[in-house]
């Protein structure tokens, strides 16, 4: 009986675990997103969350600091990313790597994976050497690739996200693909997904055998926050008057620390349990957040009780905040109200040209393949107008893109090539998403493309007409009768574009 009680006691989650779960829930409070398979588009995404949490996760209500940093670096040729740098400095100086220990959902997943009972790889010189790999990864993938493509080629290639990030694969891609509403997105998957999926599996297996393998060897965010660990306000502190230098803290720590609070320390506070001198505590400046058993040196009588009352109050506020966040991000946020689809004027029944058939086939108006695309008109950057009705009789190609979307920019030359090849018998427009203040006109002027470009209106005329979503690129092809023969969110290649044009031109 006593044994059972003891087992239950050891299985009880620690306060740190509860905080980790709380943070993961708070970052992903948009539960509706998991049900609908759509990402949250509210203004809360102005703010970056402190931990590693993909902003393309359907539940995410904040931005990923690493994704935002790479985006800012890619834009550094145009706009200095002060905002992201400021956010990282703020989180770094307040928390440092305490974020890794308490506020990172990926850290939580890694720790849970490590709980699977298998033989474990202890830390040693090899793991110590590997811990420097994350600095190389940060330099090459976060800064090198992103800056190179951003400044030299004017495209946004988030190197780490694109080639490595397991959070993007698991929280973003897999969560989106798991929803039946996004079945079409499978068509977008290619070598990039295969590679990232295999990388995610390798990292997952590594985390089972090696404590926080991703955190220790790969994570660029940990590498960046680690630089602040000597100065962070909230974290593990050592009472130098009590410490006798026995080294029990470092010997029992599973991270690559050589000193409590160094750049590898995630401030989890596990060392407090093994410190016989009770010299370690978690502090915020001079305020003790978690004291060793028996209290800190210089504690006033009743300090422990006071700490418990404060902790209880903070938990109460935090839970109320979580409840509010769940209600707000699922029911009340203004971004949840979808704009009404544009009202189409009454359309006469459209018949397909089948001279032999007596009965008329009514083609519904819509953006699905086989539908007749609703008419819309948009002004191109050159001043001319593009409308579906005016383009009737020609194959129509509409491309939804944005300057900050790497794959979109990469495929634009293919569209331009197609346009040049069939200039007299094609109606084409590349429509830029209207969510940035950044004017794409300059970019287009410098690109040398000859095909027509337009920017969608603020009420998203084109996006609503063609069923555009928050993922890009998207290509829509209409045949000569204005019937949609292709409407997919995926990158295209030359062969596909040519075959689509041939099909559209035939009809």
């Amino acid at each position: 009986m006593d044994n059972n009680k003891e087992t239950l006691k050891t299985m009880r989650p620690s306060k740190r675990r509860l905080i980790q779960v709380y943070a993961a829930l708070l970052y992903n409070a948009h539960i509706k997103g998991f049900i609908n398979g759509e990402i949250f588009t509210g203004n809360s995404k102005y703010a970056c969350v402190p931990g590693f949490n993909c902003y393309s996760c359907p539940g995410a209500v904040g931005s990923c600091p690493l994704g935002a940093l790479q985006n800012a670096l890619a834009y550094s040729g145009k706009t200095a990313g002060f905002y992201v740098f400021g956010i990282l400095l703020l989180y770094g100086i307040i928390f440092g790597r305490t974020i890794c220990g308490f506020l990172c959902p990926l850290g939580l997943i890694q720790e849970l994976l490590h709980k699977i009972p298998t033989p474990k790889i202890p830390k040693g010189r090899v793991t110590r050497a590997l811990s420097y790999l994350k600095y190389i990864i940060t330099a090459v993938f976060v800064f090198g690739i992103t800056l190179w493509y951003g400044i030299m080629h004017g495209t946004t290639i988030p190197g780490f996200c694109k080639y490595i990030c397991p959070a993007g694969t698991s929280e973003g891609a897999m969560m989106l693909l798991a929803n039946p509403n996004n079945a079409d997105d499978f068509g977008m998957l290619n070598i990039l997904f295969t590679r990232k999926f295999v990388i995610m599996l390798i990292i997952g297996v590594a985390c089972i055998f090696c404590f926080r393998a991703f955190c220790r060897f790969i994570c660029p965010l940990g590498a960046i926050y680690g630089l602040f660990n000597r100065f962070n306000i909230i974290g593990v502190k050592v009472d130098k008057n009590r410490c006798n230098g026995c080294g029990a803290c470092v010997r029992n720590c599973q991270m690559e620390v050589r000193r409590v609070g160094d750049h590898e320390c995630i401030n989890c506070g596990k060392c407090m349990e093994v410190c016989a001198q009770k010299a370690i505590s978690i502090k915020a400046g001079s305020i003790t957040l978690k004291a060793p058993e028996g209290g800190c040196a210089g504690d006033k009588p009743g300090a422990e009780k006071k700490r418990k009352i404060i902790a209880g109050t903070l938990w109460g506020i935090a839970l109320a905040g979580l409840a509010f966040a769940l209600v707000w991000f699922n029911f009340l946020d203004p971004s949840l109200k979808k704009p009404e689809p544009p009202v189409q004027p009454a359309q006469p029944a459209v018949t397909q040209e089948q001279p032999q058939a007596d009965e008329e086939v009514v083609i519904p108006v819509g953006f699905e393949e086989g539908n007749r695309l609703a008419d819309f008109e948009i002004e191109c950057l050159g001043g001319e107008k593009f409308s579906v009705s005016a383009a009737k009789g020609k194959p129509v190609v509409i491309n939804l893109w944005a300057t900050y979307c790497g794959p979109c920019v990469q495929e634009l030359p293919l569209f331009n090539e197609l346009y040049e090849a069939h200039r007299d018998d094609i109606a084409m427009v590349a429509v830029h998403n209207c969510i940035l203040d950044d004017d794409p006109a300059e970019w287009v002027a410098n690109s040398g493309f000859t095909m027509p470009f337009a920017v969608d209106t603020e009420d998203k005329t084109v996006w609503n007409a063609v069923g555009g979503t928050s993922s890009m690129p998207q290509t829509i092809v209409l045949d000569r009768n204005g019937i949609v023969i292709y409407n997919k969110r995926k990158s295209v290649d030359k062969a596909l574009l040519e075959s689509l044009y041939a099909e559209a031109a035939e009809k």
Binding site: Y55, A183, G187, L192
Partner: protein, 257 residues
């Protein structure tokens, strides 16, 4: 005593089974993903509109890995019921132990100094040897004549020649480095022993540095800088760029395409 040993053995067996299951599951899923991609690419070569992945194909792949996953979950549950736990082995790095011991010594002895000097020489020697062994590899790789052939048969020959040249030199480099590290470890252990026998200082241990005024000053400067940057960012549009990227699915970030 016997009961404890039996429990430990049982735990070890469960852990090994679990390891095999975890690796097998990951391998099955990785092979499935690669298979889907290769067969999908072949289909796309014939028809540019053919899809590589689809919901059905993915579901089929997941089903293939399901038995291993179920087995792994079952073993985890059984292990939890039997009380099998992961034990954290304490860090026993020779260099770290040496540092702890040396920090307690009042005055390092001549033997300790000699060993420390030997360690430095071994470290420099090992890395120099490694770097020297890498020189022929670098020269080989940078010589374009070694990679001149371009037809498929020639490519195989080029790769074979490269491997035959690179592997021995790499082995020499790693060998030199390993020998240097083994000898250095031996010297470190010796130094630790000498340190153990030395006279201890009164408060010789390396006490953690206190957070003095300098740290507080750094905190203040960084905080001010952070707030300034955030305000500048809101004004120069970089905050809006964060939002615009975050509310649009970054297909590259999530590996969609």
């Amino acid at each position: 005593m016997e009961k404890t040993k039996a429990k430990t053995d049982r735990g070890t067996v469960i852990k090994i089974i679990q390891s095999v299951l975890c690796i097998t599951y990951a391998a099955v899923m990785a092979v499935q993903a690669i298979n889907i991609y290769t067969s999908g690419t072949a289909a796309r070569a014939a028809d540019p509109r053919a899809v590589i992945y689809s919901q059905e194909i993915a579901a089929d792949a997941i089903l293939k890995g399901l038995p291993v996953l179920v087995l792994a979950v079952t073993v985890t549950v059984v292990a939890a019921c039997l009380g099998v736990k992961n034990r954290n082995k304490p860090y026993t790095d020779a260099e770290y132990t040496r540092d702890l011991m040396v920090a307690r010594v009042k005055e390092p002895s001549a033997e300790m100094k000699a060993e420390r000097s030997k360690q430095k020489k071994l470290l420099v020697g090992g890395w120099t040897g490694f770097a020297l062994a890498m020189v022929p590899i670098v020269l080989y790789m940078t010589n374009s004549n070694n990679f001149a052939q371009s037809d498929p048969k020639g490519l195989e020959a080029v790769l074979a020649a490269m491997v035959l040249f690179v592997v021995p030199w790499a082995a020499v480099g790693i060998g030199i480095l390993s020998i240097a590290f083994i000898l250095r470890d031996k010297s470190i252990r010796k130094e630790t022993e000498y340190a153990r026998n030395c006279e201890k200082g009164e408060n010789g241990h390396e006490a953690p540095k206190s957070h003095g005024k300098a740290v507080i000053a750094v905190r203040c400067v960084v905080l001010v800088l952070a707030v300034t940057f955030i305000i500048l960012g809101i004004n120069n549009g970089s905050a809006k760029a964060v939002l615009s990227k975050a509310i649009t699915i970054c297909t590259e970030c999530v590996g969609l395409g």
